[in-house]
Amino acid sequence: MSEPRVDLALALGHGLAEEDWERILDILGREPTYPELGVFSVMWSEHCSYKSSRIHLASLPTRGECVIQGPGENAGVVDIGEGLAAVFKIESHNHPSFIEPHAGAATGVGGILRDIFTMGARPLASLNSLRFGPLDEPQQRYLMRGVVSGIADYGNCFGCATVGGEVSFHPRYRNNILVNAMNVGIVRSDEIFLANASGPGNPVIYAGSRTGRDGIHGASLLASSEFDEHTESMRPTVQVGDPLTERLLLEACLEVMKTGAVVGIQDMGAAGLTCSSFEMASRARTGIELHLERVPQREEGITPYELLLSESQERMLLVAQVGREDEVLEIFRKWDLEAAVVGQVTDDGIVRISWKGSPVVAIPVDPIAENAPRYDRTTAARPPSAEPLDLALLAPPSDAGKALLSLLGSPNLCSRHWVFRQYDQLVQSSTVLRPGGDAAVVRVPGTSRALALSTDCNPRFCALDPYLGTQHAVAEAARNVAVTGARPLAVTNCLNFGNPERPESMWEFVEAVRGLGDACRALGTPVVSGNVSFYNETSGEGSIPPTPTIGMLGLLEHAERRVAAGFAGAGDAVFVLGETLEELGGSEYLAVIHDREGGEVPRLDLEAEARLHALLADAASDGLLRSAHDAAEGGLAIALAECALFSGHGLEVRLEGDLRPDALLFGESASRAVVSVEPAHSERFEALARRHRVPCARVGTTGGSGIQIEPGIDLALEEARESWSRTLPEALG
């Protein structure tokens, strides 16, 4: 087998910097072997090492009463009562999904599922946050069809319900679509497994699919650099998924964990075998010895370098108690999976890897893992928008009803039914509220409790002001959960940004992290897991808008108290909660009706936001709410219209205020919700709102077959539905 000459030039070709090369020589006291260079390049890639983000992420609030496991493991874990815990995380698979949308999105789902069951949890529900370029461009339609079918194929076949998420469109995602996949699983609080390689002498076991040549350098090259003219040639770095094997791996892992023979376990995701062995040894402060020829292989002739860097899917690395290897291997074989003892835990803090008796890698764990390079990169604040928005120059629409129809049919606000109907929303019989509303609600099996789950980010706000925009993302994700009656508990996040080596992108990132931390502290929702995706930009064409996707988990103590977004019947009183100001900056209305994106991001008072959440939780638990829906993108008019469209019950309301009518109808002031209440409960509800100091205005009544909103809107429900529901099917077939 011939290997290339290992030198600085080869290191640079691996995405390492010159200073990294010096550091490697320093750590090893010699030149690295070819496999060692591969190991350094993936371990020190942005994707695996978080070298540009780490010092900033350290500022996030990660502790709280409910937190069992914060960031640093495969996923975060929070206490949900009755001896149970929720395990959850969101992760990006952006670059692979652009290059090969079906396989890229599918393996994104597969990766996040493994992160959850690695910790001993059975995956309960998936969500995903998707961003594409303009819907009217053929390439974007191709990408969207592929991504949605990839998510559907993997999740449906694996057997985990996909219950929610979001889809949005913006020209700046044209060359860098985003695919963020989230999963939540349930585990007994005393049966959580961690990714530790403890106990020198314990066997290291490989289980799952055989290793092939797919996904090599997925993490180091594909995920850790900008797209350029060579991107198309990187298709082989995208992995290929096998959801049936993943399902068998889940069942086998949960069965093996029950034996008590498992000491630690980690999935082989980004950077495969390399990353999992170094990370497991690093967490336990041990070493690992691996014999690569024992790794089950898909074909002959795979080199040690390829075995170490392959990102073949559906693989796990386990450390078992010495003497119990056979018990573990037997269970994997029962499920028709490959399993082999490939090495053992050592006590010298070095990962030593051999190939047919010859050493190929000997690298001390600490310098490469825990003490990987960290950068405090230069930031430069973006100059404020050259064209501040002057509302006086924009006339309110002469026909507000027509404007509402245009908004209902616009790609960012239209019905997502085309997407969600491709997902199995029901498997495992836990889904209480299906996708399409604010948050999905899933019952915790064996209890009366339920989890409310949402993902959210408004990239337009984040582009205008990354600090405030990120706070809005946290607030809205929490509000989505709160309108179902749940208490927001904890956060996972997927921070999608441009090239961190560009000071402006880095500034956006730092501002977003600051906003994330401040908002999570104010709302009492600690950050328990997350993922950073940099380099979402294409040479010469700029970056995506900053997109810190928030995944929020909330808890409902009584599943049957959950509140849906659509009206529940005719004759209920409709209330608007919160305050509407003259805020049109960054709104969908401005973009769709006036083709403008500027202005000021709406103000956000996080204390008022928290009061709204408390009111919603109390009102739901008292059984006062017939429906509750967040008012955000598209403003009150869209929120009210959606309550009618979700349910088939019309409404007649009058919105009062001294504002411009378009600001009243379509402005996106924060911390608002639309609720309906039985008339007999109205006074009790208003008293509760006063107690929580939440502005509360009774605006009208549900019922009828029209959407009548004063000022200026009088539409037939069916006309609105026509506009709302046909956009995606017409575009996508």
Binding site: S149, Q425, L426, S429, S430
Partner: protein, 218 residues
């Protein structure tokens, strides 16, 4: 109540939901592993759950019909005992010849998860009343194509729009002898109106299966 078996193939995703739904309706429901060569003692009937047996990488149900457990299921059906196949279970029953016809890809070539109304017609040995049912469907290959040589006894037809391009709105069929029932909608996901599809109509289908099991092979 009767003892019934629920087959478990690699990739049978709805097996646990079906076991639970049958147990909640009083059945002694036991999982049966696909590698077993026989069925447990004393089974009054067998149900084949939805999911993606063997990943359905080849053609839905095409691999599962060759599982070691299937000859015993065919013998049970031959003896006149009730066999119920839901979604992937329906596909497996067609592949194995226990039901006539075949299920092909949906008209739009996409997976489809939605709620549908179906009307019971000829339930054979499964005593279904005539009321319409609201049930969820979730499948990629649910368009029924009849075998011209063996026209089916139609157990269920979709109402409203044809969801997947199925022939004559067929949603489920029953065997000539009336003891094997296959349907694409998922009764096990509609037994608790507080959940997803807001319907408990699926209980009527499961009760009809258990009723047929109780009645024995007469």
């Amino acid at each position: 109540m009767p003892r019934v078996g629920v087959l478990v193939f690699p990739g049978s995703n709805d097996d646990r939901d079906l076991l639970q739904a049958l147990a909640e309706r009083g059945a002694d429901a036991v999982p049966v592993w696909h590698k077993d060569r026989g069925l447990p003692e004393g089974l009054a009937g067998v149900a084949i759950p939805g999911g993606f047996s063997y990943g359905d990488y080849l053609r839905c149900g095409a691999m599962a019909r060759f599982s070691p457990v299937m000859p015993a299921v065919e013998a049970l059906a031959g003896a006149g005992r009730p066999v119920l196949g839901i979604c992937n279970g329906f596909q497996i029953l067609c592949e194995s010849g226990l039901l006539p016809g075949a299920l092909v890809r949906n008209r739009e070539l996409r997976f489809l998860c939605d709620d549908v109304r179906v009307r019971p017609e000829d339930g054979g040995r499964f005593a279904l009343d005539g009321d319409d049912l609201l049930l969820p469907i979730k499948h990629g290959e649910g368009a029924y194509v009849p075998d011209p040589e063996r026209p089916p006894r139609v157990a269920f037809r979709y109402l409203g729009e044809n969801p997947n391009g199925t022939t004559d709105m067929i949603a489920g069929v029953v065997s000539d002898a009336g003891n094997v029932l296959g349907l694409m909608p998922h009764p096990e996901h509609a037994v608790d109106a507080r959940l997803g599809s807001g319907s408990a109509d699926g209980a009527r289908v499961l009760d009809a299966f258990l009723g047929a099991c109780l009645a024995g092979s007469a």
